[in-house]
């Protein structure tokens, strides 16, 4: 029997009268990779922030493992790994130091050396974080999200701003993570990323859900045969080439 990790019902958030997230509902099953797709400003990050209790929704609920994160913060974040959009680090901090700091935050942390190994970062342990390449830095942020031995990870726009090679490096990492059975919630605006990784996707525009399902289902419901064209069709922004 599949088990629901994340359950969202009617989540709504307004900023100065404008609904940035509008009655959003979906659920994520254990072991699935769920992709929230949409343009910049579609409400993806705000949705994640409400799920994590960083922002308070006007309406609706978000339950992770049956609990509201904001009300059970300590307990919830032992099971939730998070990589926030564009992570920054302390000035002059080294890779192993960031890892040690994060390790100190959890009751039952994993071995960061193993994680660095897994993500191909072992040789960079002593390097300052700000000397890492974009791809290395993002792989580090995934590794950091996993330090607490979470059951679900939230990855917000992990590959935005990376070049093609670096993006693929990160995808390979996520693929391995997926194969290990980790539940992954990710936001992206790269359709290729969604096609490669996601079991289910939800398309968000102006805070509203346009459609959801497996990648195949979403494509099948459009007049096109690939996700990128289908996505633009759903977004009502088809551009003739």
């Amino acid at each position: 029997m599949s088990e629901t990790c994340l359950e969202i019902r009617g989540l709504t958030k307004c900023y100065s009268g404008r609904r940035v997230v509008d009655d959003v509902s979906f659920s994520v099953e254990k072991g699935a990779v769920f992709g929230l797709l949409g343009h910049n400003g579609a409400g993806k990050s705000t949705t994640i922030e409400m799920i994590l209790g960083l922002k308070k929704p006007e309406k609706g609920t978000a339950l992770v493992f049956g609990k509201e994160v904001a009300k059970h913060k300590k307990e919830s974040f032992e099971k939730i790994g998070v990589q926030l959009q564009s992570s920054f680090y302390q000035e002059a901090i080294r890779v192993e130091e960031v890892c040690k700091e994060r390790t100190a935050l959890y009751q039952n942390p994993g071995d960061y050396k193993e994680l660095l190994q897994q993500f191909g970062l072992s040789q960079l342990e002593k390097s300052p974080v700000n000397k890492l390449s974009g791809g290395e830095r993002q792989r580090l942020s995934v590794a950091l999200a996993l330090i607490g031995n979470p059951e679900i990870v939230f990855l917000d726009e992990l590959t935005t701003g990376l070049d093609v090679a670096a993006r693929r490096e990160v995808w390979r990492t996520l693929k391995e993570l997926k194969d290990s059975g980790m539940t992954i919630f990710l936001t992206t605006h790269y359709m290729e990323e969604a096609e490669k990784l996601c079991d289910r996707i939800t398309l968000l525009k102006n805070g509203k859900i346009l459609t959801e399902g497996t990648v195949d289902e979403v494509v099948a419901r459009s007049p096109y045969d690939n996700l990128e064209e289908a996505y633009l069709w759903y977004m009502d922004e088809e551009v003739e080439l």
């Binding site: 994590l52 960083l54 913060k73 300590k74 307990e75 974040f77 032992e78 939730i80 998070v82 926030l84 564009s86 992570s87 920054f88 680090y89 302390q90 000035e91 002059a92 901090i93 130091e97 040690k100 700091e101 994060r102 390790t103 100190a104 935050l105 959890y106 009751q107 607490g148």
Partner: protein
């Protein structure tokens, strides 16, 4: 506790890694001590005090001043801007851990600076305290806590790094120059002395001068002011604190 100390250990390492920390906390007060002791030395600075005695009680506060008005607000605003506090929020620990660890780093740095000044004064210039040493140490810690509370308040109230930079400069430099921490208070013209009396750090320094020279002056007034500053500023910083 063990986990907090591990976090603190790393933050302290990072703290020591920045060069300006050494210049402002360690070099500046020692250089100033040398200058004042060599030039003024045992000359009387008035009020039954030599320049060395005056300098001792004030330069021992330079580390406090640097940490309270530079390190604490800069680190906190930086961590907020870089969303480091936010990422700490998304963990079983509170961002308060990180802020606590960094405040502790500043405390340790202030202590190192004070010990260095004291060592140079005692060994290099034969300084001996006439007053009560434990009372002096108590006054020093009270001054540190109350100045740190001002720094925390600045960090909480300032919304952006820009305003924080302006505010810290406006607080730090006058406090450093006019409270008597670097330039001997006794050299100031009377008018400036009156203005300097209003600076929070001056209260601490005056208190420490009085205690260190064994002067029987009203200690209680300075103590009340410092405690009041601590209470008010801590309350404001807790009330206005935003981790994002």
């Amino acid at each position: 506790m063990k986990r907090f100390l591990r976090l603190y250990g790393i933050e302290q390492k990072l703290f020591f890694r920045s060069a300006d920390v050494f210049i402002f906390n360690l070099c500046m007060p020692v250089v100033a001590l040398f200058m004042i002791a060599l030039i003024g030395g045992n000359k009387s600075a008035g009020e039954n005090m030599t320049y060395l005695q005056s300098a001792f009680a004030s330069l021992i506060c330079v580390g406090i001043c640097c940490c309270a008005f530079m390190s604490i607000p800069i680190v906190m605003v930086d961590y907020r801007d870089k969303k480091i506090l936010k990422s700490f929020y998304c963990s079983p620990c509170s961002p308060a851990w990180l802020l606590g660890a960094d405040t502790l780093c500043s405390g340790v740095m202030s202590i190192i600076s004070a010990i260095l000044v004291a060592t140079v004064a005692i060994i290099g210039f034969g300084y001996r305290m006439e007053g009560n040493v434990p009372a002096f140490i108590g006054a020093w810690f009270l001054t540190m806590i109350s100045m740190f509370s001002i720094g925390l308040m600045i960090a909480s109230v300032c919304k952006t790094a820009k305003t924080m930079n302006v505010v810290t400069s406006l607080v730090y430099f006058p406090m450093l120059l006019f409270s008597g921490a670097t330039i001997p208070y006794e050299l100031f013209p009377k008018g400036l002395q009156h203005i300097a009396d209003f600076l929070p750090l001056s209260q601490g320094i005056q208190l420490m001068k009085a205690i260190s020279t064994g002067n029987r002056v009203e200690h209680i007034y300075g103590i009340i002011v410092l405690v009041a500053i601590t209470v008010v500023c801590t309350a404001i910083s807790l009330k206005t604190f935003r981790w994002e």
